[in-house]
């Protein structure tokens, strides 16, 4: 019970931090309003999916280094398939790309289970492979995206009678919440979700309690691939093109997972914390930009923050292991 309180306390603390940052943003830029919030959510969207992909694998006791490359591959695949195609064709592209992410993620998991090579090495290898595949699909940034897909993340949700509140609910946020909940909520309440926490907490204990460790691990990686594919799609939707060289999604996802209260050892934490954490990290970037700091310097500060967060997380993990 006390652990539950502490865990929720961590998330609540993050939410408070987020609100404080919003207030600071308001102080820096008095005109910061609903429109800016919408663009923040749009910028967060691919990061949030990358974080979700990382979270589920970290909870299962692993780590997925191929998140960024997976997003790049799915993004260029979607962008090049939709390039010059009709609007309706995108209806086929979206499920295809999601299925691709699911399968590639499952392949990651299977390679780990079959070769018995540690997660970090296998996903490093698949990072190379997926990056190469992304370059094969699209040598340079390009492609296109269907208009209706772009429209799903631009603008706000109109709630009749409540124009004031609805201006603060961007469609991108709704899309994010729906996509994450559709997978996470049933998972968390199912036996499978419990198994994922179990193998992350102690693989041997889980095995002896009758949890199918290999199958659970493969499913965790498959779901991670699915989230990464959503991230890739979100990337294409927000930029309108596909880029074969991924951004710093890997480091950002690990940093957000650590900041979100998920132990890198596995078996602890939830999805809400990391998602709030990624909002916090992006809002810091927005603030730095609003303070008229050189974007390159912003990148340095952001990188330093992420490294510091990961160092802090590792330190905490080490301490808890010692005690």
């Amino acid at each position: 019970m006390s652990r539950l309180v502490r865990r929720q306390g961590w998330v609540a603390g993050l939410l408070v931090l987020f609100v404080i940052l919003l207030v600071i943003t308001r102080l820096i830029q008095p005109g910061y309003g609903s429109g800016d919030f919408g663009s923040l959510v749009r910028a967060v969207l691919p990061y949030a999916f990358a974080v979700a992909a990382q979270t589920i694998v970290v909870i299962a006791g692993g780590i997925d280094l191929s998140v960024g490359a997976m997003m790049a591959l799915t993004s260029v695949t979607a962008a090049s398939m939709m390039d010059g195609a009709s609007e309706e064709y995108a209806l086929f592209v979206v499920p295809f790309v999601l299925a691709m992410g699911l399968v590639l993620g499952a392949v990651n998991g299977m390679l780990i289970v079959v070769t018995r090579v540690p997660d970090i090495v296998v996903t490093l290898a698949t990072l190379f492979v997926l990056q190469g595949a992304a370059l094969l699909v699209l040598g340079a940034p390009g492609g296109a995206v269907a208009e209706w897909l772009r429209a799903t993340i631009v603008g706000t949700v109109q709630i009749p009678g409540l124009p004031g509140i609805s201006a603060w609910i961007p469609k991108a946020l709704v899309l994010l919440v729906v996509c994450l909940c559709i997978i996470w909520v049933p998972l968390k309440r199912s036996k499978l979700g419990l198994s994922i926490y179990a193998i992350g907490s102690s693989e041997l204990a889980a095995f002896r309690s009758g949890v199918p460790v290999a199958r659970t691990r493969i499913i965790a990686y498959a779901l991670s691939g699915l989230f990464a594919a959503m991230g890739g799609l979100a990337l294409t939707m927000s930029t309108g093109i596909g880029a074969p060289i991924p951004g710093p999604y890997l480091l950002a996802s690990v940093a957000a997972v650590v900041l979100g209260g998920v132990a890198l050892g596995g078996g602890k934490g939830g999805l809400l914390g990391p998602i709030v954490a990624v909002f916090v990290l992006r809002l810091v970037r927005t603030d730095l930009t609003l303070l008229a700091i050189d974007p390159n310097v912003t990148a340095i500060i952001e990188g330093a923050i992420m490294v510091a967060v990961v160092m802090f997380g590792a330190f905490i993990t080490m301490r808890s292991r010692q005690s």
């Binding site: 780590i63 280094l65 390679l111 070769t115 018995r116 090579v117 540690p118 970090i120 090495v121 296998v122 490093l124 290898a125 698949t126 990072l127 190379f128 492979v129 990056q131 190469g132 595949a133 992304a134 370059l135 094969l136 699909v137 040598g139 710093p248 890997l250 480091l251 690990v254 890198l264 050189d294 390159n296 310097v297 990148a299 340095i300 990188g303 330093a304 992420m306 490294v307 990961v310 160092m311 802090f312 590792a314 330190f315 993990t317 080490m318």
Partner: protein
């Protein structure tokens, strides 16, 4: 006891044991096979000039792979070598406009030492996974380099003649770069095999807890290791810019992946405690020849990356099997 018949060892097991005991021989055989395939595909390509060129391009890769070898021996990896090499090359090329080449080189190696120090402290003291840590510092380093580029945009860049001589020159058909590489290689091999520091690296990688209980100061070893790795990467950058002759912000980035692959092919275990530098050198040669082969076959960059990824995966899995068998 001596009269009992010796159990016949199955051939597969024997081959495995042979590979585990003498990993260099299959590697050299592989290298020769690749060269022969190259000669068959393009008759006449293998000549003195080709040999010199291959060695010239293999040397920067081999030094970076040396960084990977040493860090992998402790169970780590250094993904920041590409950024460090690029930084030192770029800073040297821009500083040499206003300073003496020697001073410029010293200035260029400062960020290398700093990044190595941060890596070492992060890995050794805070116990961040080396992969994440070095990825993070390389991100920060790239950002710093971009900011730095703004400040020197007007001054231009040039390559000191002696670095160009070192990078591209030939003396009696032998690449001058060997003048730098041979001492470095001897030093690395000597350090790993004959000094206490080298033994500590193996010890830490083999069993960190045991090493710690035997009185090894883990964080000191790791910090020293990552600083050395970074300085080597910085030197590689200086050499590489002499070879490529065009300092850019992504100069040595394409070498990172092959450097990991070269160390893995050379028989260094990515889990630590096993391996050595001679295998890595041959691994670097194999990859350079393989790259030539892929270029001749007109394989795109993407296919090359896929191949390197698969090599890392399969070789690691194979080594795991060999170790498990013993």
């Amino acid at each position: 006891m001596s009269t009992t018949a010796i159990q016949p060892v199955p051939l597969g097991r024997r081959v495995k044991r042979f590979m585990a005991d003498r990993p260099l021989i299959p590697l050299i055989i592989l290298l020769v096979i690749l060269v022969v395939v190259l000669q068959i595909l393009r008759p006449g390509i293998v000549n003195e000039r080709w040999l010199a060129n291959t060695v010239k391009f293999a040397i920067p890769l081999a030094i970076l792979a040396g960084c990977q070898t040493m860090t992998m021996l402790t169970g780590g990896i250094d993904l920041s070598v590409g950024t460090v090499a690029t930084m030192s090359a770029f800073i040297m090329a821009t500083q040499v406009v206003n300073h003496d080449p020697g001073v410029a080189i010293l200035i260029a190696l400062v960020p290398a030492v700093l990044i190595g120090l941060v890596n070492g402290i992060g890995v050794g003291v805070f116990r961040v996974h080396p992969l994440i840590m070095t990825l993070g510092t390389s991100l920060i380093g790239t950002g710093c380099l971009q900011v730095y580029q703004r400040t020197v945009i007007a001054s231009g860049a040039k390559i000191p003649p002696f670095l160009a001589w070192l990078g591209t020159g030939l003396t009696y058909g032998v690449p001058n770069a060997l003048l730098l590489f041979v001492p470095i290689a001897i030093l690395i091999v000597f350090t790993l095999n004959r000094t206490g520091f080298g033994r500590l690296l193996y010890a830490v990688g083999d069993n960190e807890g045991a090493a710690r209980l035997s009185g090894v100061r883990y964080w000191q070893v790791i910090t020293a290791l990552y600083v050395i790795s970074s300085v080597l990467a910085g030197i590689t950058g200086l050499l590489y810019v002499g070879l490529i002759k065009a300092p850019s912000l992504s100069l040595a980035e394409p070498l990172v992946l092959p450097s990991v692959a070269a160390a893995v092919i050379g028989g260094t275990s990515i889990f630590g405690g096993r391996g050595g530098y001679t295998g890595t050198i041959i691994g670097a040669l194999i990859l350079t020849v393989l790259t030539t082969l892929l270029t001749i076959l007109q394989m795109p960059e993407g296919a090359r990356r896929i191949l390197f990824g698969l090599i890392v995966l399969f070789v690691t899995a194979a080594y795991l099997r060999i170790i498990e068998d013993r």
